[in-house]
């Protein structure tokens, strides 16, 4: 195996998250709580990519994600691809889909919203998937998904 290939080693079983905008790599780590995992995780960023300028890539051994977990990623990067690996082969490619509702993932931008003043879960309804507009279930404030903070 050449040194070039060794840069990111292949995994036998697990998930490869590809085409992450490089600056969002650690947001993906946080969203999936990868820092708490006990199986091997490889996190790479600033890789050259044909599709985008630079990308991040994450490989997680022996871990497969539910659709709910995957869809949380739509908040940071709607174009991420998840490859499910079994026995070194890609058996499935999944694209992130923006869900209709986001629970406990993002914070409301309205400082006077109840969700910022009470220990509780946030709920947002996604009202425009193409434009990325979400609406707080509690204060009704509409906000752009790339202008909100993650919890």
């Amino acid at each position: 195996m050449s040194k070039k290939e060794l840069l990111v080693s292949a995994i036998e079983n697990g998930t490869v998250i590809d085409h992450i905008p490089t600056e969002k790599t650690f947001q993906v780590v946080n969203l999936l709580h990868l820092q708490d995992m006990d199986t091997p995780v490889t996190i790479g960023y600033n890789f050259k990519s044909g599709l985008m300028d630079r990308k991040g890539i994450i490989k997680i051994s022996d871990k497969f994600f539910t659709d709910d977990e995957i869809n949380r990623l739509s908040v940071v990067a709607p174009n991420i691809v998840l490859n499910t690996i079994r026995n070194y082969e890609v058996v499935e490619k999944k694209r992130v889909e923006t869900p209709d509702e986001l629970r406990g993932i993002i914070k409301c931008n309205n400082p006077k919203c109840i969700t910022n003043n009470e220990p509780m879960e946030t709920i947002f309804n996604v009202i425009d998937k193409e434009q990325g507009i979400v609406k707080c279930h509690y204060c009704d404030k509409e906000q752009k998904i790339d202008e909100v903070e993650l919890i």
Partner: protein, 315 residues
């Protein structure tokens, strides 16, 4: 049976709005009853609002309920750091229904999700004030005989005025034509204009406010231009009297036209207008009692049939 909250206006159907208006009409005929005898109503006011609180408490008292509550968060456990959830759950142990006022937006919605008893939103910050909206609808219906196909002119602070925003959403069932009259600093926000477009509500925007502009109005809904909203006080001084209603501006008004205002007013309606037959804002405030009697019954499972067959009327 799921519990019946009264938290926002935009989720209420046309049938529900008309049902509540019908119920309020019965309370206008006979406001004093014992329909809620044995019930305990809690009024939790996290910020003072004397007018709204007195209206809710009067409605409860005139239906025979007893009232508990607080008038200011300073005197409750909130000042000790208690969460809204804990306060709501504690009061739910004592009362049959909670009417709550809060300065935080979405507080009533959240309370309705945690409380085992019905929640009535008596205003949550700049967000919603649905009982005000119901009394506005009731007043429009009372003065025009219908809610359908009316020309409604909204004047003043259309940017921050939650009553005008709620009115637009509540009127969407009734084919209104809205006219927005405001200085550009306080113009109707884009999100509400988009709301109008997506719900096929006709609207026209004006900046001038004179007798000719308002000659077609069925309802002239005035709001207060709030000084605290302006970053530039020169600007406030310039616009504060532009949107002032005087008697001579009502010279060309249609005979059925009524002037409404959620009150309190400052100087946007000249005192001379009070005696004009078009003035209706004082009667409008009185309708708050009937609307809130209807809201309490709606939340406590008392139907229009119960009200129509009520044997507890006190003459």
């Amino acid at each position: 049976m799921s519990k019946q909250d009264f938290v926002n206006i935009q989720n209420l159907s046309e049938d529900t709005l008309l049902y509540l208006i019908r119920m309020a009409q019965e309370f206008e005929k006979h406001p004093n009853r014992e329909l809620l005898k044995g019930k305990v109503v809690a009024t939790l006011f996290y910020e003072p609002s004397t007018r709204t609180r007195l209206s809710f408490e009067t409605a409860a008292n005139r239906l025979g309920a007893r009232v508990i509550g607080f008038t200011d968060a300073k005197v409750s456990s909130v000042s000790k750091g208690e969460t809204l959830k804990d306060t709501i759950l504690m009061v739910s142990n004592y009362a049959d229904v909670i009417a709550m006022r809060h300065y935080i937006e979405g507080a009533a919605q959240y309370a309705s999700e945690v409380a085992p008893i019905p929640i009535i939103n008596a205003g949550d910050g700049a967000h919603q004030h649905p009982s005000q909206c119901l009394l506005d609808l009731y007043t429009i219906h009372q003065t025009q005989g219908t809610l359908n196909n009316l020309n409604i002119y909204l004047v003043g602070d259309l940017k921050y005025g939650r009553t005008v925003h709620s009115l637009i959403m509540a009127m969407r069932h009734f084919n209104p034509t809205f006219h927005f009259i405001a200085p550009k600093e306080l113009a109707m926000p884009t999100e509400y204009k988009l709301y109008c477009k997506s719900h096929n509500i006709k609207y026209v925007e004006h900046t001038a406010f004179n007798s000719k502009e308002i000659a077609d109005a069925d309802i002239l809904y005035m709001t207060r231009v709030q000084k605290e909203r302006f970053s530039d006080l020169m600007e406030y001084e310039r616009v504060k009297n532009v949107y002032r209603l005087t008697n001579d501006m009502l010279a060309d008004a249609k005979p059925n036209m009524k002037v409404l205002h959620p009150l309190p007013r400052v100087n946007e309606i000249a005192y001379e207008v009070d005696d004009n037959p078009h003035a209706y804002y004082i009667q409008q405030a009185k309708n708050g009692l009937y609307a809130r009697e209807a809201i309490f019954c709606y939340c406590l499972g008392i139907t229009l049939d119960d009200v129509l067959n009520d044997k507890t009327i006190i003459e």
